[in-house]
């Protein structure tokens, strides 16, 4: 059930990026799609009754990890992938907004249909 809701969020972002005419709305649609994908990846590694993948002093018994920690820890691999993805999405947001600002300064509008007809 949460997987289906996450997919619905992705579809909302896709609709916004495809149908809308204002450039800032297209950027917002791409941003919603990125949030949906990050949420989906973390939900793949979730475990009921799990715990965060951080070792504390009470997990080490006799020089090695306790069985309880190994059997109840949450998957650390999707978290590593999503960590870098979140920071990259900020960099690409800055790039998209700088393109929008340049286009506004050149054509005077944010509307993408107007930009196709004016030849500068």
């Amino acid at each position: 059930m949460p997987y289906a809701l996450c997919f619905l969020l992705f579809m909302i972002g896709l609709y916004c990026a495809v149908v809308k005419k204002n450039m800032v709305k297209i950027v917002i649609g791409i941003l919603i799609m990125e949030y949906a994908v990050n949420l989906f990846l973390i939900m793949l590694g979730f475990r009921w009754g799990g715990r965060a993948p951080i070792v504390t002093a009470e997990d080490i018994s006799g020089g090695s990890l306790s069985k309880l920690f190994i059997n109840s820890s949450v998957d650390p691999l999707p978290q590593a992938l999503v960590l870098t993805a979140i920071v990259i999405s900020l960099g690409s947001l800055a790039l998209m907004i700088s393109i929008c600002i340049r286009t506004y300064e050149r054509y005077g509008t944010f509307d993408i249909t107007q930009i196709r007809r004016l030849k500068g």
């Binding site: 951080i54 070792v55 870098t84 920071v87 900020l90 960099g91 800055a94 700088s98 600002i101």
Partner: protein
């Protein structure tokens, strides 16, 4: 870009130092508690963004100018590559080999000085990410000043 009123300036001059210190803590303890280089770098950048929003862009540029920020960015990236290359030359085993942990400091988990090259990589990634994000916000705000000035004419 103008700054804000005097109440905001007084409070932000006190708060931005706390944010900077918190960012450094998150970077340094990245191998023991949640956080790491990326989150800490973004927090350090946001402390400088607070300085820029409260005092105006010219004051922030005197504090940490544009060429200095871009050089810090390059220094962070080169430091990360240098740590990786040391692994290749030191043990002759591989790129990114954790050479400190495998040879010398062994058997002290959960202390601050542990885990080999991981704290060093955290610090270099923190410098790189922080200065990159502050650079891009500085450039966005300086460009906006130019267009709004030309729109008013």
């Amino acid at each position: 870009m103008k700054g804000m009123t005097i109440i905001v300036k007084n409070i932000s001059s006190f708060v931005k130092v706390l944010i900077f210190l918190f960012g450094i803590y998150i970077i340094l303890f990245g191998h023991l508690t949640p956080g790491g280089g990326f989150a800490g770098g973004v927090i350090v950048a946001s402390s400088y963004v607070l300085l820029m929003l409260a005092y105006g862009r010219e004051f922030a540029e005197e504090n940490l100018s544009l060429p200095t920020t871009s050089r810090l960015d390059c220094v962070g990236a080169l430091l990360f590559a240098a740590i990786a290359l040391f692994g290749l030359f030191y043990g002759a085993t591989g790129f990114f080999w954790n050479f400190i942990h495998q040879k010398e400091l062994w058997g002290q988990p959960l202390k601050l000085l542990s885990a080999g090259t991981i704290p060093l990589s955290n610090i270099s990634i923190g410098i790189k990410v922080g200065s990159s994000l502050f650079l891009v916000i500085l450039i966005l705000s300086s460009f906006r000043l130019e267009t709004s000035a030309s729109e008013k004419e």
